[in-house]
C-alpha cells in the first residue's frame, strides 16, 4: 500500500503515524481540511462584522472580508465568493498560501483576547464552493478593441489578465511552462495548495476570454518589440530566476529547492531524499522543501548561517517545521558537498559567529576558525532565495537593485510596458497576494492609459 523504500525506518518524532506516500496519499494532502458547512457557519457567525474593518485594511488586495464572511453566515456562498474574487481573482490560492497571521487574521480585533476569525479557511470555503462547481463569477467587459499581452501566468499575470478582460480588452497570456499558474502550480507544496486549485484559476481566466498560450517563452528584446507591435500594452509578470549558486565544491550534487518542490508537487511519490537530507537556507521556500523531504521519510536538518532570530521564514512556518520534526542547525555555513561515486555522503560546514550588522541590517555571520565539521547526509537541497530577473536586463528595462524599476502605477522605463509581481519586489516583501495586487494596479493603469490616448508607436 505505502511505498516506503525497503530498509527505511519510520523517522523519529513523526507527526503522523503511518503516512501514505503514494502520489495521492495522505502525506501530501492539504494540511488544513476544508471547513464543513457547520464549521463555516459557526465561524462566520463569530465574526463581529466590524465597520471599516482592520482585516480589510491589512489585506494587500483589500478584500471586503466582513462582507464575504457575513454572506457565508447568511448562506449566500455565491455572493461571498464574488466579493472575494472581485478584489482578488486568486482568492482560492491566497486563502491557502497567504501568511494570514501577518495580514488579515493578525489584524482581527478578536485576536487581542481570544482567537481571531479563521479568515483564510472561510475564504477557501466560499471560493472552493464556486470553483469546484465551475461557476464563473464574472463576464468579459464590452470589447474595447484594445489588445494587451501579459507575459507570465503566475499570480500577477493571471490577476492582471483577468482584470483587463473584465475591462473588455483582448488579452493574450503567455506562459513558458507546460502548465499555467506559475508558482501556484509549480512552487507551492501540495500540503498548502493542491495543483487543481491553481488550474481552476487558470480555467477562470480562460472563461473570461483570455487566450492562454503555454509553452511560449519571451526570450529577448526583439520578441518584446513584436509583442508591442501586435498589442497596445504589455504587462511583464516574469517572476524571479533559479536558486543562486553558492560557489562551493561539489555544488553540482546539490538539488535546487524550487526544482525539488516542483517534482514533489507534480509527482510526490518520485522524490527520494534518502534517509538523511540537508536543506540549506531558512526561508519559507526552504521550509517547504524540508517539509516535503520530511514527508517522504527523511530525517531533515536545516542548515542556516545565522540564528533563529534572523531567519526569514515566518514564525508560524518555523513552528510548523519544528512540529513536523525538522531539525535546525544554526550558525553553520556549508563549505563543501562530499560525495562518493557521484552520490552525496555529507556536507562539510564551518561554525559561524555573528558580527556587526551588514547591509540588510542583520548581524553579519563570520566563520569561526578551526570549527569545520561534517554532517553525514544522502541529499543536499539549497533554498537560499532566487536569482533576480535576468531577462529584465536583456529586455532593456531599467533596473533598481536588480529588480525591474517601476513607478507607483507599475509602469517600467519602456513606453507601454508595465511590470509586477516578484520581479519588481525586493526580497522579503514578495508574496502571492502582493503579486495579485500588482496585477490589479497594473490593469487599472493600463486600462486608464488605453482608454485615454496611447500613442500607437
Amino acid at each position: 500500500m505505502t511505498s516506503i523504500p525497503s530498509g527505511s525506518s519510520s523517522p523519529p518524532d513523526s507527526a503522523f503515524s503511518s503516512p501514505d506516500l503514494s502520489s495521492s496519499g495522505s502525506a501530501w494532502q492539504e494540511l488544513l481540511p476544508p471547513m464543513t458547512e457547520h464549521e463555516a457557519s459557526v465561524e462566520a457567525n463569530r465574526c463581529l462584522y466590524c465597520y471599516d474593518a482592520p482585516c480589510l485594511h491589512a489585506c494587500p488586495t483589500h478584500i471586503d472580508i466582513p462582507t464575504f464572511i457575513r454572506k457565508i453566515g447568511t448562506g449566500n456562498l455565491r455572493g461571498s465568493a464574488r466579493v472575494i474574487l472581485e478584489s482578488n481573482f486568486l482568492g482560492g490560492t491566497c486563502a491557502r498560501v497567504c501568511p494570514v497571521q501577518e495580514l488579515c487574521e493578525g489584524a482581527c480585533v478578536l485576536g487581542a483576547d481570544h482567537k481571531p476569525i479563521q479568515i483564510g479557511r472561510l475564504q477557501r470555503y466560499a471560493v472552493d464552493h464556486v470553483q469546484e462547481r465551475g461557476l464563473q463569477m464574472f463576464a468579459p467587459g464590452t470589447p474595447t478593441g484594445k489588445k494587451v499581452a501579459v507575459v507570465g501566468s503566475g499570480p500577477a499575470g493571471i490577476s492582471a489578465a483577468a482584470e483587463l478582460a473584465k475591462q473588455g480588452h483582448a488579452v493574450t497570456l503567455l506562459e513558458k511552462r507546460e502548465l499555467a499558474g506559475g508558482l501556484s502550480t509549480y512552487g507551492i507544496i501540495s500540503l498548502r495548495e493542491p495543483i487543481e486549485v491553481a488550474q481552476r484559476e487558470v480555467d477562470a481566466v480562460r472563461a473570461l476570454g483570455v487566450d492562454v498560450q503555454t509553452g511560449h517563452e519571451l526570450s529577448g528584446a526583439a520578441e518584446l518589440g513584436i509583442l508591442l507591435n501586435e498589442h497596445h500594452a504589455v504587462f511583464l509578470a516574469l517572476g524571479l530566476g533559479a536558486v543562486p549558486a553558492m560557489g562551493i565544491p561539489g555544488e553540482e550534487h546539490v538539488l535546487d529547492g524550487l526544482d525539488f518542490i516542483e517534482q514533489a508537487k507534480l509527482n510526490p511519490a518520485s522524490i527520494q531524499p534518502g534517509h538523511k537530507a540537508i536543506v540549506i537556507g531558512a526561508g519559507n521556500t526552504a521550509i517547504d522543501a524540508a517539509t516535503m523531504a520530511r514527508r517522504a521519510g527523511a530525517d531533515v536538518n536545516m542548515v542556516y548561517r545565522r540564528t533563529e532570530r534572523e531567519m526569514t521564514a515566518y514564525r508560524h512556518e518555523y513552528e510548523f517545521a519544528l512540529h513536523e520534526g525538522i531539525h535546525f542547525t544554526f550558525l553553520t555555513q556549508p563549505i563543501e558537498v562530499l560525495s562518493k561515486h557521484g552520490k552525496v555522503t555529507g556536507l562539510r560546514c564551518v561554525k559561524m559567529a555573528l558580527g556587526a550588522p551588514d547591509a540588510s541590517g542583520r548581524a553579519r555571520p563570520e566563520p569561526v576558525k578551526g570549527s569545520e565539521f561534517v554532517i553525514e547526509c544522502d541529499t543536499v537541497i539549497k533554498a537560499i532565495g532566487q536569482e533576480k530577473p535576468a531577462l529584465a536586463e536583456v529586455l532593456g528595462l531599467e533596473l533598481e537593485g536588480g529588480y525591474i524599476k517601476v513607478n507607483d502605477d507599475l509602469q517600467t522605463s519602456l513606453p507601454r510596458v508595465w511590470a509586477g509581481g516578484d520581479g519588481v519586489r525586493v526580497r522579503g516583501s514578495a508574496s502571492t497576494v502582493m503579486a495579485v495586487q500588482d496585477g490589479k494596479i497594473a490593469a487599472a493603469s493600463i486600462g486608464a492609459a488605453l482608454m485615454t490616448d496611447v500613442p500607437a508607436d
Partner: protein, 459 residues
Amino acid sequence: MADLSINFAGIRAPNPFWLASAPPTNSGLQINRAFEHGWGGAVWKTIGAPVLNISNRYSGLSIGGQRLLAINNVELISDRPLDVNLREIAEVKRLWPDRAVIVSAMVDADPQAWRDIVMMIEDTGADGIELNYGCPQGMSERGMGAAVGQVPEMCELNTHWVTSVTRLPVIVKLTPNITHIIEPAHAGIAGGAHALSLINTINSIMKVDLDTFQITPNIGGRGTHGGYAGPAVKPIALNMLTELMTDPGVLRSGVPVCGMGGIVTWRDAAEFMLLGATAVQVCTAAMHYGYRIVEDMIDGLSNWMDDKGFATIYDFAGKSLPQVSTFGQLDLSYQAVARINPDKCIQCNLCYVACNDTAHQCIDLYSADGIRVDPGFDPRMNGRQVADSRPVPVVREPDCVGCALCANVCPVDNCIEMVSVPSGRESVTWDELTAARPAVTQSWAAMEAYRAEAGIEIH
C-alpha cells in the same frame, strides 16, 4: 446558604423551579427523573379532553447559529389515557412528598366536565390544579384553552366551576394572546383563583422553508400556527408579569404569580422574581438541554442570594417593582451620555456605524495623535500592523442624546458606559409639564418656547 423553599398559594416546594406543563412533564418516568435532578415541582402535562397528536410538532428559531432561541409547537394536551396519567400522578406524589406536583387540566366548558376531572385530580394526592387557558391551537377551536383565556367571562365562569368544587389551590394560567392581560387576570381572581401563572405560548408562524416554500413545522405538506416559547419571549413575559404585579386589583387580591416564558438560567428566574413572581416554570430550556439544567439554577440563585444578603425568595420578590413607572412620570431632565473606555475598546467600530447611520451622529474617530479622521484606508498600506494605528471611536458628549444604542451594540462587556451627567435643568416629568403647560401637547410653537426657556437643544 439561602433558603430557596417556597409556599406558593399553599403549595410547598424546596425550590421555586418547576417544570411547566409541557412535554417534559408528560409521564411519571420523566417527572421522577426530573425530581432526581432537583426540580422543586412539576406541572403535569395537561390532562382532560381526548386528543390525537400529529408529527412534526416543533420548529426552532435559530439566529446566527444559536439554536432554539425560541421554539414553536403544535402539540396538543396529553394524548395518553387519562387513567394512566392519574395513576402515575399518584405514584409520583407518593414517591416525592416534598415536591410540588400540580396537575394542569383542560376540559369542555361545562361544569360537570370540570367537576369530574377535579375529583379525579384530588384523588391522586396532587398539590394543586392549574387551569390551562392558553393552548393557542387545536384545543381553542374546540372551545377550550385560549378560547377560554381570551374571553374574560368564560375565564371567570370556568374558574368558578373548579374553585367551587375543590379544596386544592387553583392556579389560572393566562394566555398572552390578548390585548390587555389584566382583564382575564381579574376574571380568574373573580372566579376564585388562588394564584395566577403566565405566560402561555404566543401565536406564531415560525418560518417558511425557502426550498419547499412550506411553513414549518411541515405536517405532511401543511402547517398551522403554533405556540411560541423560549428565550426570545422573556421580555414579553416580564412585561405581562409587571402589568399584573402593578395592578391594584391583582395586588388587592393577594394572589401569588408564577412566572414563565423564556427562563433558561437562574439569572432569568431572578429577574422574574424581582418583578414579583414567587415561583417560576421552565420548559424550552429543559427541552433544549435536559433536566440537568436545574442544578445550576438552584446553585446560581442560591449563591446570588448569599452575595446579595437575601435569606429567602420573599426577601427580594418584587424588589424591582417600585422602580416601574409610566412614561409620564419619568424625569425629562435626566441626562446620560455614552462614554467609551479606550482601554477596553477593540476598534470594531460597530458603535461608530450604528450611531452615524441610525442614531444621532455623535461618535467620531480619532487617530492616535488626536486628529479627527474619517473611516477608510490607504490602499497602499497593508499588514497586521495596520491594526496598531487604528483610530478609536470617541463620543462627542454635547451632541449625545444618551440613547444607549452604542452601548447595546458594543461587543465588549462594560466598554461603553452610560454615564449620568448634570443637565442643568430642574427635574420635571411629562405629567407635571403638561399639567402646568397644556399647550406644549398641542402646539410646536409652545413646545419650542418651552425648550428655549428650559435650555433644551435638539440637534
